[in-house]
């Protein structure tokens, strides 16, 4: 369906599945309730000589329409907990990930790369503004923080969103499944230029990514 953005990460399709399953469930509820509403309005409109039924309730009905929603929400909850833990659970982060740091500030994204040694916090780290470059089919773990106010790291195509909080470093992971360019948006009101705090995510093939990292470390690189 064209209503959701393209899906370009491993868990995007899981989230989308959840979205559509919920749509089916609430869609059924919607149709049942609204149809009953319209049906009753038509069928039981006032007509001369007819008196309303003097009924105060029905315990069986109450039990049924308590139990059915309750069971439904429990089912949704059980499914959700699993996927939520998989995406946000800090003990579940994938191994062999590219490790980056992103600092959000008014009004830009500063992405720090670990450089050829693959380790953050070493001499060969380098920082780029508003450009997140990652390899395809490999997990990426981001240490997300904010310099000044709240921001929110949002890549619609990856279905990932995480608030960036000054004073906290919050880990986020995702794994891109398609090469190409995607947009990064700020999703938490952060001031007057919040609306233009965008970044560009570029997903490379593994080889191109190595190439890019090497090129960034040479003396001519920089932004």
């Amino acid at each position: 369906m064209g209503w959701l953005p393209e899906s370009a990460s491993t868990y995007a399709s899981d989230i989308d599945l959840g979205f559509w399953v919920i749509t089916v469930i609430v869609g059924i509820a919607f149709v049942v309730v609204e149809a009953a509403l319209v049906l009753f309005l038509v069928r039981y409109r006032a007509r001369p000589g007819r008196r309303a039924a003097y009924i105060h309730g029905n315990t069986t009905a109450e039990v049924i329409w308590t139990a059915v929603p309750a069971i439904t929400v429990v089912a949704i909850g059980v499914w959700s907990a699993g996927l939520w833990s998989e995406i946000k659970g800090r003990d579940n982060f994938p191994a062999d990930a590219v490790h980056l740091a992103i600092e959000a500030k008014q009004f830009e994204w500063n992405v720090t790369y670990p450089g050829p040694d693959g380790q953050l916090g070493t001499e060969d780290d380098f920082t780029r503004r508003n450009a997140l470059e990652i390899p395809v089919n490999r997990p990426v773990v981001v240490d997300l923080t904010a310099e000044d106010v709240l921001h929110s790291f949002f890549v619609p195509a990856f279905r990932i969103k995480q608030d960036a909080v000054p004073g906290m470093t919050i880990p986020v992971w995702f794994e891109a499944t398609k090469t190409g360019e995607f947009e990064l948006a700020c999703a938490e009101l952060c001031g007057n230029s919040h609306y233009s705090m965008k970044g560009r995510v570029r997903v490379h093939t593994a080889e191109d990514y190595e190439e890019w990292v090497r090129s960034q470390s040479s003396p001519e690189a920089g932004q």
């Binding site: 009753f40 105060h56 909850g77």
Partner: protein
């Protein structure tokens, strides 16, 4: 029994010896206080709507001069083009005025005040002078909030949720005095709300007429009573939060400033600990009044009255333990997210119960489509959508994607406008005769309802699709993002629809004011309802009841076999022998 069927027009110096000022300005009469809140809140509803109209202009036609925008000062919209900082304050103040100065006072300030003593058989509130103070404290709060637009730096622009650190740092937001006014205004308004709720609670507990047992109270009163308890307990938390933020701004404290060990997330926790009960404050009275009106319009008892009461209590109780669902993506421990998800999904159940009971009330009823009934039915239809859309955001992984998008905006407007505001319209149309002694025009009322219903859905339903597309909230210019550009036609469609939605309110405004002077004089009980308020004249007299009524049955004895009429007022005693079996019915 009470007065004649002809409506009495109050004279300036009534026979109770009060002057004009004592009757209408510094009055202690709960009914007039309710009407004072009505005028004030309707004014702020219009203000909130106009702010939204300006926001929608910018969203539909980004960067283009707004018609009439030339009248705005350079600091807001040079050459009529809205500035981003002004847009942010529009977003903030639209939410602020609508939540605190329109919907909340319309539901609580107006109807708790107007209905409680009348519907429980009391002459007035427990503390009439405190009640007067409650209104007159709200007025300067409102003025202060308006004043924020005219100070240097402009009005608060951090959202109605005022997240720190942005809201605490004038150097980062550009706003100083505006945010301070916002905080002070809400602190003052909070005092008004707390005084009001003290009155509502005490009155319902201690001043019910003989025979008005707890389970003979109308659901409107149950919901207002439970809501008053929520107000009493939640608003002080907002006051505390506002004070801490105010001190961060003005005294250099560090509650939310991480540099000195403060925690931005603390603001969110404290704010939403208030904020979630607040949204139930904004819906429960609506649900209660809708129950009264649907029962009346169907000429049938409310289906499952006891379940309805327990559902109100359950919603109020559970509402205290779901606040974290506003913070799933905030950086708080994800395991906490799971616990809040559970409580949030659970709270869907009592709301579902209520919806089915409304349907049950209509089932096998004898439905009369008067204007209040149309709006009450509209409430049910729209609240269902709002409630169901909530399931998406309760589901934490889906919320990762739709948090802070227009999907949330759609949800909140379906429950607050589709829900609360339609219920408010229903309640105004229903109790107007008792307030003013006149009937509103049914024809204008129906026109208002139909137009509002149509344009309201044209405005807010598409927002679900914007959100699905990833369209963020509080965005001054969506066209900055390539992935949002395809949504511009939808944004424009919404903007045009908003214009018509605002225009659709004209019949209501005209009806309201015209009927004050030219409406048909109202009888005691034009809706043939069972409530105690319909046993006194329209408008209701000062002191309400010449003699304290005695209550003999529940509030929804429509189509009772004990009487020929299809209604049975609560204070009308009857011989418990059923009337002869009816002719072939249904």
């Amino acid at each position: 029994m009470t007065t004649a069927a002809v409506a009495e027009r109050p004279t300036a110096a009534g026979h109770d010896g009060r002057s004009f000022i004592q009757r209408y300005i510094f009055t202690t009469d709960h009914k007039i206080i309710g009407i004072q809140f009505l005028f004030m809140s309707l004014l702020f509803l219009i203000v909130g709507g106009l702010l939204a109209l300006m926001m929608r202009w910018q969203l539909g036609y980004p960067g283009q001069p707004m018609p009439g925008g030339g009248m705005l000062p350079e600091t807001m919209a040079p050459d009529g083009i809205l500035l981003p900082e002004f847009y942010n304050s529009l977003v903030t103040m639209h939410g602020t005025f609508m939540v605190f100065f329109a919907i909340m006072p319309l539901l609580v300030g107006v109807f708790a005040n107007f209905l409680i003593p009348l519907k429980i058989g009391a002459p007035d509130m427990a503390f009439p002078r405190l009640n007067m103070a409650s209104f007159w404290i709200a007025v300067p709060a409102g003025l202060l909030m308006v004043a924020g637009f005219f100070v240097e730096g402009g009005h608060a622009g951090a959202g109605w949720t005022a997240y720190a650190p942005l809201s605490a740092r004038p150097d980062l937001s550009g706003v100083s005095l505006g945010q301070i006014f916002w905080l002070l205004s809400l602190a003052i308004l909070g005092l008004s709300s707390i005084l009001g709720s003290m009155n509502y609670i005490t009155t319902v507990v201690n001043m019910r007429a003989p025979g008005m047992t707890w389970f003979r109270l109308p659901l409107s009163i149950w919901s207002l009573f439970i809501t008053a308890i929520l107000v009493l307990l939640a608003i002080p938390v907002l006051s505390g939060a506002a004070i801490m933020l105010l001190f961060d701004q003005t005294l250099g404290t560090h509650f939310f400033n991480p540099v000195e060990g403060g925690q931005p997330l603390l603001w969110q926790h404290v704010f939403w600990f208030f904020g979630h009960p607040e949204v139930y404050i904004l819906i429960l009275p609506a649900m209660g009044m809708v129950s009264d009106i649907i029962s009346n319009g169907s000429r049938k008892p409310v289906f499952g009255y006891h379940s309805m009461v327990f559902a109100i209590i359950a919603i109020a109780f559970l509402g205290w333990i779901v606040w974290g669902h506003h913070m799933f993506q905030s950086g708080m421990n994800p395991m906490l997210g799971t616990t809040f998800m559970i409580s949030t999904l659970v709270i869907a159940v009592p709301s579902a119960i209520k919806t089915f009971n409304w349907l049950g009330t209509l089932w096998r009823g004898s439905i009369h489509f008067h204007t209040p009934m149309l709006n009450a039915i509209g409430f049910v239809a729209m609240f269902v959508i709002g409630g169901l859309s909530g399931i998406y955001m309760a589901t934490t992984p889906v919320d990762i994607f739709i948090h802070d998008t227009y999907f949330i905006v759609a949800h909140l407007h379906y429950v607050l406008f589709g829900g609360s505001l339609f219920a408010i319209f229903a309640a105004i149309y229903f109790w107007y005769p008792k307030m003013f002694g006149r009937m509103m025009s049914e024809r204008l009322g129906k026109v208002h309802f139909v137009l509002t219903f149509i344009f309201y859905n044209l405005v807010f339903f598409p927002m679900h699709f914007l959100g699905m597309g990833g369209h963020m909230r509080r965005i001054y210019d969506p066209t900055e993002y390539e992935f949002l550009q395809p949504f511009q036609p939808m944004n424009r469609f919404i903007t045009v629809s908003v214009f018509f939605l605002v225009a659709a309110q004209v019949p209501f405004v005209v009806n309201f004011f015209w009927s004050l002077f030219k409406g048909a004089p109202a009888s005691e009980n034009p809706w043939k309802d069972n409530g105690l308020e319909w046993t006194v004249s329209s408008p209701a007299p000062h002191g309400n009841f010449a003699e304290t009524p005695t209550v003999y049955h529940g509030p929804y004895e429509f189509s009772s076999p004990l009487v020929d009429d299809d209604y049975l007022p609560q204070s009308r005693a009857v011989d418990p022998q059923p009337r002869p079996a009816p002719a072939a019915g249904d």
